[in-house]
Symmetry: C2
């Protein structure tokens, strides 16, 4: 298969972790006789520094020409601390989600057997947890009208949803549930928000078309608790943009580190793959950033193009690295100083020689 | 002291748990020679059934005449399942918060020594956690304009904040921090929301007036994770309405049961005290509802009127009940069938005879 991949490393630890994902994809291409090409573009704070724009038109063009986008991370503490900044790295990420129409964000939450005791939660609590979060990604309060009064004393944001925006992701989530445990939980705040009531109404309608999927409805406050006290109750979680942001980052505690969480953002024409962690400016260029979320995002990319065997091999490599403690310091209690690159190298070696790779 | 308390038991388990809080207050009045009077009002689904209105004018009048309000819970699964209901129990609760101007909601999160192993989290994770959440309660997306299009296919909610709404609660939160560990965390989503940037800007200004308080800023998605992986980093958390709703219910996992979380809602003229749990219709009238959140809310009421010794005694009663496993089934792994009333009776006895109360 020929795949033209746009790579946007972004800020902070983005470039380091994305380099490992690219390495994994390159060795997959070699082993399976695919042709993957990689074209790099600017986004986020690094794009602001070089071009004044967090999402240069050139980057958009690059992504639209590509078969898929591999995204690192954006953000910079400098901007976080300045609420008055008009140009912000996040505009790069939000802009690209909107420009490419990536309305469905899929975030798998899997409690890895080898990491169970790394979690803040008790092992018995999280064992066998396997959740797929479907987060709406191009609407809601992220993209509604914003307002700041001239005197700077009043500000507002609008959370708006339209029927078609809910329907298209809901169908995808229901279909995903069909191939899993056939359970779907809609998370909303329908006891307060009109937009949540729209979600609930539409999901109820659509549920009739999927009689084999058991649907339940949960308020976001309650879901934030239930995710911790009984995560195994969930199969597919469907939710709007902001609640999905909160729940998915919270869910990282089940997996043991946010450095493990991959995601796919899918639209009708384009697809982007990115770790859910941020740019962690403080950890940049120290070789301590966990590349696994990026590498698993590359595996989601492979799955997206039907390269299931390839994706499975990448995941096996990740599993093996976890089993053998070839992991960055966020996860490692056995070895010191296993660097970002070293983890990437190990997984690259594994892909070449799945049966021989061991600690060396 | 003479206190006239408006009691709004509400729906589901509300009446059962509030009865225990009233019992505790009555025996406190007796032991300390106070005169507490209790007047009951309707709110929520039970008010809808009897009057068609989730917040009858009579109830508002009752609360405005009173020195404080003791609130149970509202909600009914019947309404939860019907996104088309125009009249909803929640309007009773939101209406009363607005009518009484209860803009500051205070929710203490304390990891009780005797309950550490009840939590889904590892003991070492939560030990010594003591957080005070300051949640803005009368503005934000809870009270912004709502819209639903005539064809029912578009819906929106507005999250709006004004300077004075942020300032008044921020000052209270900073003052609280001064009497604690002098740390304040503002939780927002300033990388996306204009209203969050307003919060961040104003809190930064106000921080200058409290040089002894260490302030930090955290995005809500990150906070939802940090609350679980490192809860001890927090002292006072200040946040807007919706984020406070989510974080405080999530934080119940630290305490071990949402049945333990009390809250105070304070305005310039009025004050209301309520457990943060909901109506749990399914658990109603079974004698299994945990009354401790309500009893601790009564303790917060006593504190509010400067009755510190009285409040402390109520809390000691609660501690003792936890130590001796006189708790409802949500917490109890030792005894079966300790009912809501039995817990209330135990704490009542303890208040009368702090030195003699034991398991009987
Ligand atoms: C960086 C930020 C704008 C982004 C979001 O809120 O969507 C991030 O938290 C995420 O989850 O991808
Ligand atoms: C019942 C509901 C409207 C309420 C809220 O969201 O504020 C509740 O969850 C709470 O936290 O007091």
């Amino acid at each position: 298969m020929k795949l033209n991949i746009a790579v946007l490393p972004g800020d902070g630890i983005g470039p380091e972790v994305i380099a490992q994902a690219v390495k994994a994809l390159k060795v997959i291409a070699m082993e399976f006789d695919h042709i993957f090409t990689f074209d790099y573009g600017l986004v986020g704070a690094s794009a602001i520094i070089k071009t004044g724009n967090p999402l240069p038109q050139e980057t958009i063009n690059l992504c639209k020409k590509a078969d898929a986008v591999l995204f690192g991370a954006i953000g910079d503490t400098k901007f976080d601390e300045d609420p008055d900044a008009k140009i912000r790295p996040e505009q790069g990420l939000l802009g690209i989600r909107k420009e490419l129409g990536l309305f469905t964000n899929i975030r798998p939450i899997i409690a890895y057997e080898d990491l169970l005791n790394k979690s803040s939660l008790k092992v018995k609590q999280i064992k066998d947890t396997n959740i797929l979060i479907y987060r709406e990604l191009t609407s809601g309060i992220y993209f509604g009208a914003r307002y700041i009064s001239e005197d700077g004393n009043t500000a507002s944001d609008v959370c708006k949803y339209e029927r078609f925006e809910i329907e298209r992701i809901a169908h995808q989530a229901f279909k995903a549930a069909l191939s899993r445990k056939r359970k779907l939980t809609l998370v909303d705040k329908a006891n307060v928000l009109e937009s949540s009531r729209l979600w609930r109404r539409i999901v109820k309608e659509i549920a009739n078309q999927y009689p084999n999927v058991k649907v339940n409805y949960m308020y976001i406050d309650n879901a934030a608790m239930e995710l911790i006290i009984n995560p195994r109750q969930f199969d597919v979680i469907l939710t709007e943009n902001m609640f999905g942001d909160i729940l998915s980052e919270e869910a990282s505690v089940i997996v043991g580190s946010i450095g493990l969480l991959a995601s796919a953002s899918i639209g009708n024409k384009y697809a982007m793959f990115e770790p859910i962690h941020g740019a962690y400016t403080k950890a940049a260029n120290k070789g301590i950033a966990n590349p696994i979320a990026s590498i698993l995002s590359a595996a989601m990319l492979l799955d997206h193009f039907g390269l299931y065997e390839e994706a499975a091999l990448v995941r096996e490599g990740v599993d093996k690295s976890l089993k053998l403690h070839i992991t960055t310091p966020d996860l490692n209690t056995k070895y010191d100083n296993i660097s970002t690159t070293k983890v990437g190298d190990f997984i690259e070696d594994f892909i070449q020689n799945p049966d021989e790779t061991n600690l060396n």
